[in-house]
């Protein structure tokens, strides 16, 4: 924590800032996912958590001065795009079945 | 050649799966007959003079890092059991022609695959390969019972699978422990059975005791030994005829064979220490299940329980740790396969005609099916242990071995060991009980006034009495029973060498034990009761 405090004092933007932002984004996404019932909103929240992870990876990539993290993120983005298409299609199908976007309409997995 | 015996059935199983339905049984028959021919050729080429050595060796690396390979080889004992499997395979296939009408492809494919797995168990020289084959037998058997059994088949199949699987997982722990011990000693992994055998014998008494318990947990379920036998009557009763034949004929022998190959050979010290409790379990099984047979109404269940009783003799012979007992036990494996397999075939033939196995519903069939009655009585007598037929030789040797074991002080014919005359005397009552329940069965279903189910009508394809195919299936087994009953010596002489090698080790262990005063033995005996629960 002292690292973060130091950089704040010096007015520089350091790794800690990025990670803090990433954690914030992730927390927002997670809270959104847990509290909202609308499938589309929930999906958007997952996207937010994705981006939070991506941000952290980019930050680490920069910090370590290599491209590994960036490569990861490119992959994640690509897959997220594909997945978004799939997920939205699934949401549409789900809506058609239940005429509702409420996630609690689907509880077949109850033990 | 051994690899051919595994590959041919596997390929045939694939071929059956993809060929048209009409060809299924043709391919299965051909495959089993070709394998039998290969088996005959193997017996021809086997160097009987060196029957204790592994022959027809063949090896292929699978996981060299862990020292796992697919290596095959047989000594005379494994060879005889392979011959038994090969003889029973065509009999099972041909014997199923009229019984199996639906899903023929599935049935014959799995039956043929089962054969490959069984050969794999007997031919394995690598522990990992042995275990894989050992467990693989469960899958075809499960399918055969689950899909082709009678009313309660699903429960029976699942129980059979889970029960034996649980047991063998514990056995695996023991086997892997031996491999781990060997790796620690040698600095590299190996699953070669011969190497592990040497390593295992160097373990101390406590280690050996635990390994024995773990192995027995698995193999005793397979045999099955009292009190872990309850899957067998259910599985037998529900299995299709060929399933019962393989189950009784070969699958149960996997247990006794594994005890012979792994328990006796790997942990001789522990065997000496545990001979008495295991023999006691075997004897309890002989008498207890024998008496249970007597109150059965279902013929097939009766014969199934009788298998438990009979295999008690087999285990007893093994733990007599002398040549007579162990040879008798090996003979028992072969003989029981022939006579009980044949009994199941006979019962299957009756079932196909009457669709019942209950003694309350059918009886007096000698009036109507004299040929069937002849075979039924014949194989019953073989099973009773009538001298001149095969069952006698093995039962007699097992009992004599038990009698000799530990009777070294009584006379020149005694040997070292922990059992003795009293064990033989108590186990011998099993002979009387066997006569009681088997003659009770024969008296009910073969003799007496003819009784048939009310809704009985003549089978659409089968004649009233046996047809040529059915007689042809039973005759080789009958010949086998007579030949092994009249001329067992050639077979006994061929297994002498491996048996004597093993017995020598056990005797040394026994003497060693006496020197140490059995302090390790006491420790391991104490844990017996706790581990029994694990067996279930």
């Amino acid at each position: 924590m002292h690292l973060l405090a130091d950089s704040m004092v010096m007015g520089q933007v350091t790794l800690a800032h990025y990670l803090l932002l990433s954690a914030g984004l992730f927390a927002i996404g997670m809270i959104g996912f847990l509290t909202r019932r609308n499938l589309i909103i929930m999906f958007l929240c997952t996207e937010m958590m994705f981006q939070a992870a991506g941000l952290a990876l980019i930050a680490f990539s920069r910090y370590h001065m290599n491209h590994t993290g960036e490569v990861f993120v490119i992959f994640v983005l690509t897959i997220a795009a594909a997945e978004a298409a799939l997920a939205l299609a699934l949401v549409v199908l789900c809506f058609k079945r239940r005429e509702s976007l409420d996630a609690s309409a689907w509880s077949e997995l109850r033990g | 050649m051994l690899q051919a015996l595994i590959v041919i059935p596997l390929l045939s199983a694939l071929a059956i799966a993809f060929a048209p339905k009409a060809n299924a049984r043709v391919i299965a028959t051909m495959s089993s007959v070709i394998c039998l021919a290969v088996g005959v050729l193997m017996a021809w080429q086997f160097r009987w003079g060196d029957s204790g050595e592994m022959q027809f060796g063949w090896s292929m690396d699978v996981l060299p890092e862990l020292g796992i390979s697919m290596s095959l080889g047989v000594d005379s004992i494994a060879l005889w059991l392979i011959e038994l499997t090969l003889l029973l395979a065509p009999i099972c296939v041909i014997g199923s022609f009229s019984a199996i009408k639906d899903n023929q492809k599935t049935y014959y494919a799995w039956l043929t695959a089962l054969q490959a797995a069984l050969i794999g168990v007997f031919a394995a020289r690598d522990l990992a390969f042995f275990y894989v084959s050992f467990e693989f037998t469960l899958i075809p058997m499960w399918v055969l019972i689950h899909l082709f059994g009678s009313t309660n088949r699903k429960k029976a199949a699942t129980k059979f699978f889970l029960f034996t699987f649980t047991g063998s997982v514990i056995a695996l722990a023991g086997l892997v422990y031996v491999a781990w011990f060997n790796a620690g000693m040698m600095g590299g992994w190996s699953f070669d059975i011969a190497e592990l055998q040497q390593a295992a014998r160097r373990m101390n008494g406590t280690q050996q005791g635990w390994v024995l318990l773990a192995m027995m947990a698995g193999f005793a379920v397979k045999v099955p030994l009292f009190p872990v036998h309850t899957w067998l009557p259910l599985a037998h009763t529900e299995a299709p005829t060929a399933g019962s034949v393989v189950l009784a004929g070969v699958l149960l022998k996997l247990g006794t064979y594994a005890i012979f190959r792994f328990v006796l050979a790997f942990v001789p010290d522990a065997v000496v220490a545990y001979a008495v409790p295991i023999a006691v379990l075997a004897i309890i099984g002989i008498i207890y299940t024998g008496l249970i047979c007597w109150v059965q109404r279902d013929v097939k269940k009766l014969v199934a329980y009788s298998s438990v009783s009979h295999l008690g003799f087999c285990v007893l012979g093994l733990f007599a740790i002398n040549s007579v007992g162990v040879s008798g036990s090996v003979m028992y494996m072969i003989n029981h396969g022939l006579s009980t397999g044949a009994l199941f075939l006979c019962i299957g033939m009756m079932y196909e005609r009457y669709h019942t196995r209950s003694m309350d519903e059918v009886g007096g069939l000698a009036n109507k099916m004299p040929v069937w009655a002849f075979f039924m009585v014949f194989f019953t007598l073989a099973s009773v242990g009538l001298p001149g037929l095969n069952g006698f030789v093995s039962e007699f040797l097992c009992l004599l071995g038990t009698f000799q074991s530990g009777a070294g002080s009584m006379g020149v014919g005694g040997t070292v060991g922990s059992l003795g005359p009293w064990f033989a005397a108590v186990a011998g009552t099993g002979m009387v009980i066997a006569a009681i329940y088997l003659l009770y069965m024969v008296g009910k279903i073969v003799f007496g006034e003819l009784r048939e189910p009310a809704d009985y009508h003549v089978h659409e394809t089968l004649p009233i009495d046996l047809n040529g195919r059915e007689i042809g299936v039973l005759v080789p087994l009958a010949i086998g029973c007579v030949v092994l009953g009249v001329l067992p010596t050639p077979v006994l002489r061929t297994i002498e060498q491996p048996v004597n090698q093993l017995v020598q080790t056990l005797e040394d262990a026994h003497d060693h034990m006496l020197v140490r005063g059995g302090e390790d033995g006491v420790v391991v005996v104490a844990v017996w009761d706790e581990s029994e629960g694990d067996v279930e």
């Binding site: 996630a103 | 008496l291 003819l450």
Partner: protein, 762 residues
């Protein structure tokens, strides 16, 4: 104890026969019988409906008899012939003694084997000839003869075996044939039950035999007769140290175990219960297997192992038991026979009783007497059974002596009646003219001579009287008296169908026996007279049977068995006078010095003086001589009582009895005086019920209990363990809500938990 051994061995060793290689063709004898079985099997398979199976079996057994006779003629009687055919079970685990086992299919032919083989094959042939007519028209004709031939094969293996294991094969083999042939009429539940009972009871005996065999093997390292008896002769076990047998408990334990086998096979107390029921089988089977041959296997076994049974220096528990059980069986079963009405059953009980005599004979050390009685009994009992069988066959299965009478006067039955009379006279022991009298006498006399055997002797004497009574009860009621009969309910589905149409009573015509039956009956009747001739042949050396027994392992201890005149006996008798304890047990060496030259049973010139000074006198005479008179009188009294109670009015001018109808007799009036005893005897003293109550029912209950335990407890435990995962699953089940956010919350919570752990512990 051992100090006295050398002297004893010196006496005994003269009797052990050296072995020579016998004729190789001897194996033909059993194999011919087996071939007969196979041929009949083929006939069965080809559904031959002619009498071919009978002729094949009669022919082959006839050849076997001729071969046996040739072998016997060529036997030099000074040696035991050994023939090895092939190794049956062989195994070795080392090179030293006792480290291998080799059970051959081989023969050991000494006097005992020859004696048995001669009457087994001879009677086998005759009875097969009888059966060729008796079984005519029965559906299972070929099956019957297959079993019959297999029996002769097994019996030959039993008798000719050169080792205990082959004997065991024959032992169980005859048991199997007995099972198959008792259950021949397999539709009859009673026949099936009787067959099962016979096999199972025999198996109990077999267990004893098997254990005796094991113990023999462990002790001697061999079960081969020539090696075994050589060791026993030397008095040592088979080990390197040559431990003296007199110091080993096995020496008395082995005979005890073998004895159990003998009791099972020879239907002695308490294992006799199967034999009466065995009469469910066809009569030729009863005659051959359950009277003449198989049931004497026990006697054979004891005689064969007599050197061990009577081994000096150890307690003779087995011999003592054999003697007493034999005597008690004789008495016990004759009391049952007196009260039965089924003539075949009466014969069955008389067989048990006569077997009791044989065992008692063995017990009182008279192997010669026992073997002689086996020999004579084989003929006259086969004769009696076959005569009964002829009656049964002719009267459609009628066996009740209350429903048959006066056959003497029915045309065509004269031969049966005469031969029956001869058989009855033999069984009753009519003096002088019957072989049965001489052989029975030998045993009884020996019982009085043998120290400690007096009570056995008195029991046997009483039994002799009872035997005479019940035998002639049958004869007087069935064969003489007013002509009256009712047919049985058995109908032969054969060419004798003409009987069937008429139904019962008046229209019934008994069909008299044909030539084969009459011939066999006549031959057997003559044979039973011929047996007297054999008894007196070469009498100074013990007679025909005595010679054979002397030249066998059973002759080993003839110092006991043959009572010459010497001081040793006087001592023994004196010892026996005061108290009746069985001296054999207490004091075996007391008369070890008895000479081996015996074989003389006092018939000619045993000096009375030798016994006169001793206490073993009966009416002041030598027991052997006295017994001739006493047993004759007892036998005649028995017959007289039978005549008074059951005899016909005015028969033969004697005027005995008052019986004028079939169902009644004077004896009926006496029955109330006996109270319930008569009823008990008629119900065979309720022994079957007692066994049911004591053994079968508890065992059956136990089986049910075990079955329940197996289902509930053993399997229940397994199923219970199978339930464990299921129970755990249902406990954790509510955590799976099925709501998406629930899982997400779980994941988030997990993440938080991990973070907390990391922050706290790292």
């Amino acid at each position: 104890m051992f100090e006295s051994m050398p002297a004893l061995l010196g006496a005994g060793s003269a009797d052990v026969l050296p072995t020579t290689v016998g004729p190789g063709w001897l194996w033909l004898v059993p194999i011919l019988a087996l071939a007969g079985c196979v041929a009949c099997g083929l006939c069965l398979a080809m559904r031959v409906r002619t009498k071919a199976p009978a002729w094949i079996v009669v022919g082959l057994l006839g050849i076997a008899f001729v071969l046996t006779f040739m072998g016997y003629s060529g036997w030099d009687s000074a040696s035991a012939q050994v023939v090895k055919v092939f190794e049956w079970i062989g195994l070795s685990w080392g090179d030293s003694a006792g480290q291998s086992l080799s059970f051959n299919f081989g023969f050991y032919m000494d006097g005992l084997s020859w004696l048995w083989m001669l009457f087994v094959t001879g009677l086998g042939t005759l009875i097969a000839l009888y059966a060729s007519e008796y079984m005519q028209g029965d559906k299972g004709y070929a099956r019957f003869f297959a079993g019959f031939a297999l029996f002769v094969f097994s019996m030959a293996c039993l008798v000719m075996a050169d080792n205990l294991v082959l004997l065991y094969l024959g032992w169980e083999g005859v048991g199997l044939c007995s099972y198959l042939l008792i259950g021949y009429f397999y539709k009859k539940p009673s026949a099936v039950a009787a067959a099962k009972k016979a096999f199972i009871v025999n198996r109990i005996g077999d267990l004893g035999l098997a254990l005796g065999l094991f113990l023999t093997f462990v002790t001697f390292g061999t079960v081969q007769y020539d090696e075994l008896f050589a060791l026993i002769d030397q008095g040592v076990a088979g080990d390197m140290a040559r431990t003296p047998l007199s110091e080993m408990w096995q020496t008395w334990a082995i005979p005890l175990l073998l004895m159990v086998g003998a009791f099972g096979k020879s239907a002695q107390l308490p294992l006799y219960v199967w034999l009466p029921d065995a009469m469910e089988g066809p009569t030729p089977v009863s005659a051959l297997i359950h009277a003449a041959t198989m049931v004497t296997a026990g006697v054979y076994l004891v005689a064969r192992f007599f050197p061990l049974f009577a081994f000096e220096g150890v307690p003779h528990y087995a011999l003592w038991t054999v003697g007493w059980v034999g005597a008690l069986t004789a008495l016990f079963s004759s009391t049952i026979a007196m009260a039965q009405f089924d003539i075949k059953r009466i014969m069955a009980y008389s067989t048990i009783s006569q077997l009791g005599y044989m065992f008692a004979g063995l017990g009182v050390l008279s192997t010669v007497g026992a073997a002689s009685h086996v020999f004579t009994h084989a003929f006259f009992k086969a004769l009696l059974f076959l005569a009964c069988g002829a009656v049964m066959h002719g009267f459609a299965g009628q066996l009740d002596l209350r429903k048959l009478s006066g056959l003497w006067s029915v045309p065509g039955w004269r031969i049966v009646c005469v031969t029956m009379l001869i058989g009855c006279m033999n069984l009753a022991g009519v003096p002088l003219i019957t072989a049965g009298y001489w052989s029975k006498d030998m045993i009884m006399a020996e019982a009085f001579v043998t120290p400690g055997g007096q009570i056995i002797g008195w029991i046997l004497l009483l039994t002799a009287g009872l035997t005479a009574y019940y035998t002639f009860r049958v004869f007087f009621r069935v064969f003489v008296g007013p002509v009256s009969f009712e047919p049985g309910d058995e109908h032969h589905d054969d060419e004798h169908g003409h009987d069937n149409g008429h139904g019962g009573g008046g229209g019934f015509h008994p069909h008299a026996p044909g030539w084969a039956v009459n011939t066999v009956l006549a031959v057997l009747a003559l044979s039973s007279f011929a047996a007297i001739g054999l008894y007196f042949t070469d009498k100074p050396n013990g007679g025909f049977v005595g010679n054979l027994v002397g030249d066998s392992t059973a002759g080993y201890v003839t110092p006991y068995g043959h009572h010459g005149a010497d001081d040793g006996h006087d001592d023994a008798h004196a010892a026996a006078e005061g108290d009746v304890r069985f001296v054999l047990v207490a004091d075996p060496p007391a008369h070890a010095s008895g000479d081996a030259t015996g074989g003389d049973h006092g018939a000619d010139g045993t000096p009375d003086a030798a016994h006169a000074s001793s206490g073993g006198l009966i009416l002041g005479m030598d027991p052997h001589k006295a017994m001739y008179y006493i047993s004759a009188v007892v036998g005649l009294i028995g017959i007289l009582i039978a005549a008074v109670l059951h005899g016909p009015l005015g028969m033969g001018g004697l005027g005995l009895g008052t019986r004028t109808e079939a169902a009644r007799s004077k004896a009926d009036e006496l029955l109330p005086a006996l109270g319930p005893v008569a009823r008990w005897a008629q119900h065979k003293w309720y022994v079957d019920e007692f066994y049911d109550f004591l053994l079968r029912t508890p065992l059956r209950v136990l089986s049910h209990v075990f079955h329940a335990i197996d289902k509930l407890l053993v399997d229940g435990l397994v199923n219970g363990l199978g339930l464990l995962p299921r129970a755990m699953g249902s406990a954790l089940r509510p955590s799976q809500s099925g709501v998406l956010q629930g899982y997400a919350a779980g994941m988030a919570g997990g993440l938080v938990l991990l973070l907390v752990i990391v922050l706290i512990f790292m």
